[in-house]
């Protein structure tokens, strides 16, 4: 199953401030009633974007200046909470291609990687300066260089951390592991044969 190699992501950014932005905040559980992920994009950050009566609140994603942004810039422990893939899917379906944050929750990070969404880690200082640059000029183009572990925008750049396993998978086009997993079918049978509970 050939996949695109993801060597870099180039897009405009939107800064979503705050730490510990959890998966219920990214998409409230009540919108997860679905048998397909299509259409989840409209519920991204729903409760932080809408008043109880449905009118729009002040939120970066409601700000027309950031319409069309493809990179979310966030704080610490982004995506904590649930393992439900609805949160990364909502981000994906809303058109985002990558996230830059100080740190990520583990399951969320893995779910994003499998969807081909690089989640890269940067220092608080670099994120703050980037956020200011986006605020000053929402049209600034941001490049996440997966190969060089670097973020560039305007005349600035800073280095980011991408765990090796994810980085290699993006660069090799194996970020969706299903192909390799299927290739291992014989080895799976062999491993299972040593485990009595796998039964017949």
């Amino acid at each position: 199953m050939p996949l695109d190699k993801i060597t870099s992501v180039v897009a405009r950014g939107v800064h979503v401030p705050g730490s510990d932005i959890d998966t219920d905040r990214i998409i409230p559980a009540r919108f997860m009633k679905c048998v397909t992920f299509d259409g989840l994009g409209q519920y991204l950050f729903y409760d932080t974007r809408h008043e109880m009566d449905g009118t729009l609140k002040e939120h970066p994603l409601n700000d027309p200046r950031f319409t069309g942004a493809g990179i979310i810039v966030a704080g610490i422990n982004f995506g904590c909470g649930s393992s439900r893939e609805h949160a990364p899917q909502a981000i994906h379906k809303a058109g985002f291609k990558a996230v830059i944050a100080q740190s990520f929750a583990e399951i969320f990070f893995g779910n994003c990687a499998t969807l081909g969404i690089p989640c890269v880690m940067a220092t608080a200082g670099d994120i703050e300066v980037l956020a200011e640059a986006i605020e000053a000029d929402p049209s600034v183009e941001i490049t996440i260089d997966v190969e060089k572990c670097e973020v560039r925008y305007g005349d600035k750049s800073f280095s980011v951390t991408i765990p090796d396993t994810a980085r290699e998978a993006f660069l090799a086009g194996t970020w969706d592991p299903i192909g390799e997993l299927l290739d291992g079918a014989d080895a799976v049978t062999a491993t299972a044969s040593h485990l009595p509970y796998m039964g017949a």
Binding site: M1, G18, S19, D20, D22, D24, R25, P28, A29, R30, M32, K33, C34, V35, T36, F37, D47, M52, G75, I76, N77, C80, G81, S82, S83, R84, E85, P88, Q89, S103, A105, E106, I107, G110, N111, T114, L115, A124, P163, D164, T165, E168, T174, P177, I178, E180, L181, L182, G184, A185, A187, V188, T191, A192, H194, L195, P196, Y197, M198, G199
Partner: protein, 474 residues
């Protein structure tokens, strides 16, 4: 070299190294439910793949199940669509489905153990972050996303990076009125909501030796709230006694062989850990959360933190945000805060022993006026056993609504929801903003007995005082 249980189970299930350096890990037991599996079956169909080991896949329906009337079709069309999709997917693939009314339906993390599907030394995956619950049996159990569900359905494996292991010892004697829930809330408070990232938590020490299997499940269940991908307790005689004669437990000579294998899997004394944390049981008191993250915990007799107490700017921002959302005054005592709703249930605290313990104290008492109190058994079996013991009556007579089994108000994907900014004393596992169904609803996590204390007094209260617990009653 001596090994931890995690190392041994990992080695036994490692299929091969993948090109990105991750491991292809065999998942022996796959548990599925209606919320996260239909999309995975859809992906499978798109790829022209079939379920590889249907006999190692087990399904139930829990998140969207109404707990008042279960007559179908459900009022919620989407919920009906989801249960229908699961039924059809299971039928087509030949997967055992514990459906509503089968006698075996319930929250997936209650069903696995009570059926004997959850066994020591196995790897378990489920599209739900509270899958670590199964670690109480010495299983390595992971919460996974839907694409990984697809991987497990299609290959019975998934790609995973090996975790480090942190041993958490809790030694000594817990004081009366202090429960497993208080122990895990305390651990999360100490280590933080992200302290466990990259780790499997191995819980041990005399407190865990003395804990029942169900108490161990309560602790393992919330590992993810501390950031740990999985958590476990080494299997012992209690584990084996719990599993004996369960429907899916090994039988006859296979049972003896299995027990011998399980015993050999426990972490060896002196085995290396990546980190060790020691906690004294005497330090732990009945705990509640005051904020919007499970690590926002305090003892019930403490004061709500002030922004000034923060160690750094991030923590201060987090406290300010939490206080604003919770509408709490910094520096005031949390005890005495009025509650609107009391919820006892969930995969954390919805088992027979939870309801039994609460019933001991609830008998002869009444839920305070103006408080809505609901009790939701974790499974049809828990419901049945509670009814056999008359526990449901104790709850009903006290003014609790006794409901059908499901996840219910833990995450409110069914009709059980907070309204407006109602404050809920909850035995569940997450106090995230909007978690219980209202975007401005407020959740205070605590043990089931503490929820009962809140229910009868109408305020957050120290159960030890309300129920006059002393050392003799322990």
């Amino acid at each position: 070299m001596s090994q931890s249980l995690f190392e041994k189970v990992w080695e036994a299930h490692a299929v091969k190294k993948l090109s990105n350096g991750q491991t292809q890990l065999l998942i022996g037991t796959h548990l599925i439910h209606e919320v996260t599996s239909p999309q995975a079956f859809g992906m499978l169909r798109n790829l022209g793949l079939k379920v590889k080991y249907p006999h190692r896949t087990f399904a139930t329906v829990d998140h969207i199940v109404p707990t008042k009337s279960q007559t179908e079709p459900f009022a919620d069309k989407l919920a009906q669509e989801m249960i229908q999709a699961l039924r059809e997917n299971c039928k087509e693939a030949g997967i055992k489905f514990f459906d509503i009314g089968s006698g075996g339906q319930g929250i997936v993390h209650v069903v696995g153990p009570e059926q004997g599907i959850t066994q020591p030394g196995t790897t378990i995956a489920c599209g739900d972050s509270h899958t670590a619950t199964h670690g109480a049996f010495g299983a390595i159990a992971f919460g996974i996303g839907t694409t990984q569900i697809r991987d497990v359905l299609a290959t019975q494996t998934m790609a995973l990076s090996k975790l480090k292991v942190r041993r958490i010892n809790v030694d000594g004697d817990l004081m009366p009125g202090v429960y497993a829930k208080d122990v895990i809330l305390h651990i999360i408070k100490l280590l933080g909501a992200k302290g466990g990232i990259g780790y499997a938590y191995e819980y041990g020490g005399s407190v865990f030796d003395n804990f029942s299997i169900e108490e161990r499940m309560t602790v393992c269940n919330m590992s993810i709230e501390g950031g740990a991908r999985c958590g476990y307790v080494n299997p012992d005689e209690k584990t084996f006694a719990y599993l004996k004669d369960r429907p899916y437990s090994p039988k006859g000579t296979e049972w003896d062989a299995a027990v011998a294998r399980w015993k050999a899997l426990a972490s060896e004394p002196g085995c290396p850990y990546d980190d060790v944390v020691n906690i004294r049981a005497e330090e732990v008191a009945p705990s509640v959360t005051w904020g919007i993250s499970p690590d926002h915990g305090i003892f019930v007799n403490e004061r709500i933190p002030t922004p000034e107490s923060a160690a750094n700017d991030d923590e201060r921002d987090s406290i300010v945000e939490a206080l604003e959302y919770m509408k709490f005054q910094p520096g005031t005592r949390i005890a005495g805060t009025p509650v609107d709703v009391c919820f006892i249930g969930s995969c954390t605290n919805g088992r027979l022993s939870d309801f039994r313990e609460v019933a001991k104290y609830l008998k002869g008492r009444k839920v305070a006026q103006g408080v809505t109190a609901i009790a939701v058994p974790g499974s049809e079996i828990v419901d049945h056993l509670c009814r056999q013991e008359g526990i449901d009556k104790v709850f009903s007579e006290a003014g609790f609504e006794w409901r059908h089994a499901g996840c219910s108000m833990c995450l409110a994907m069914n009709p059980d929801k907070l309204i407006g900014d109602q404050l809920c004393a909850s035995s569940s596992n997450r106090n995230f903003k909007g978690r219980q169904g209202s975007p401005i609803g407020r959740t205070v996590l605590m043990s089931p007995v503490m929820v009962a204390a809140a229910a009868v007094t109408g305020t957050i209260s120290d159960a030890r005082e309300v129920f006059e617990m002393n050392s003799d009653a322990a």
